[in-house]
Symmetry: C2
Subunit: 163 residues, 2 copies
């Protein structure tokens, strides 16, 4: 555990959240899960994270109810992938707010590089996390894309909780 | 630094945010700053954090533009306190979303202990972070209280960026 204290019994819900979400690798695994990643090797390669670090985080996240392990058939054997639960997908406003704060206050050195939150239902970018700043509708995972200036195509449809 | 990687140059703004906000002590210092804490001893005592850990975080947060050092006169000498900048206060939706997620998904073992986000302008609790879920108005720091069931009085008015 990267945390220096046990905050699970804290009266403050911010501290209780941070007990699991205060680990940056957990947040980046969530980001990849929203991006549609489900398999260990994809998380590892896309995050550039050591296998033991990743294993530990995935298992913490399953225990905390953020991810669910789902079996799939490899050519040779049964393996598992990791999908978002409703609890995991409900971190979406936190992730979105982090993205928006980062673009506002820690822009990339190259001004051509940015990621915007796009509310596909209205087609506009949103600068707020719970409700679209353009149309006011609830900004669900399913109706949101991440528009990455460096990507082709730029818009990535997000993935929420698995059925 | 608690982070295992340098994410300042990442294209993704979530990673750039996590470079500073991915440290749970930083988030808890922000929580105390929103609660009106300004002085080193208060942060230390209320967070139960070691002085060297706290010093390091405060200096990181000043460097990152989240806090500003302001001199004040002690009986004997000039000392400094720490106030939120606009950049620091702009983490409010992230902090609020963490509190709401924590209450929903990691409730305290004692169901009588909870903290709600109260939008004072309309007088109702909000379950969303950017805009009040009851009246739809923007949920500013200045119009928000934290209602702590264990506190007397229960409602704590929050403090935003210092003028």
């Amino acid at each position: 555990m990267p945390l220096r204290s046990d905050w699970t019994g804290e009266r403050c819900p911010i501290a209780r959240s941070l007990e699991v979400l205060g680990d940056p690798w957990v947040m980046l695994v969530l980001r990849q899960a929203f991006s549609g990643v489900r398999r260990f090797e994809q998380f590892r390669d896309q995050l550039g994270v050591a296998e033991n670090v990743l294993s530990k985080r995935l298992s913490t996240m399953v225990d905390a109810g953020l991810l669910r392990r789902v079996p799939y058939q490899d050519q040779r054997r049964t393996r598992h992938e990791y999908v978002l639960t409703e609890t995991g997908a409900d971190t979406f406003p936190i992730i979105t707010a982090l993205a928006q704060w980062g673009e506002r206050h820690r822009p990339h050195a190259d001004p051509g590089i940015r990621m915007d939150i796009v509310h596909r239902s209205c087609g506009h970018e949103s600068t707020t996390a719970d409700f679209c700043s353009h149309c006011g509708q609830h900004l669900t995972v399913e109706a949101t894309s991440w528009r990455k200036s460096w990507r082709d195509p730029q818009d990535l449809k997000l993935t929420g909780a698995a059925a």
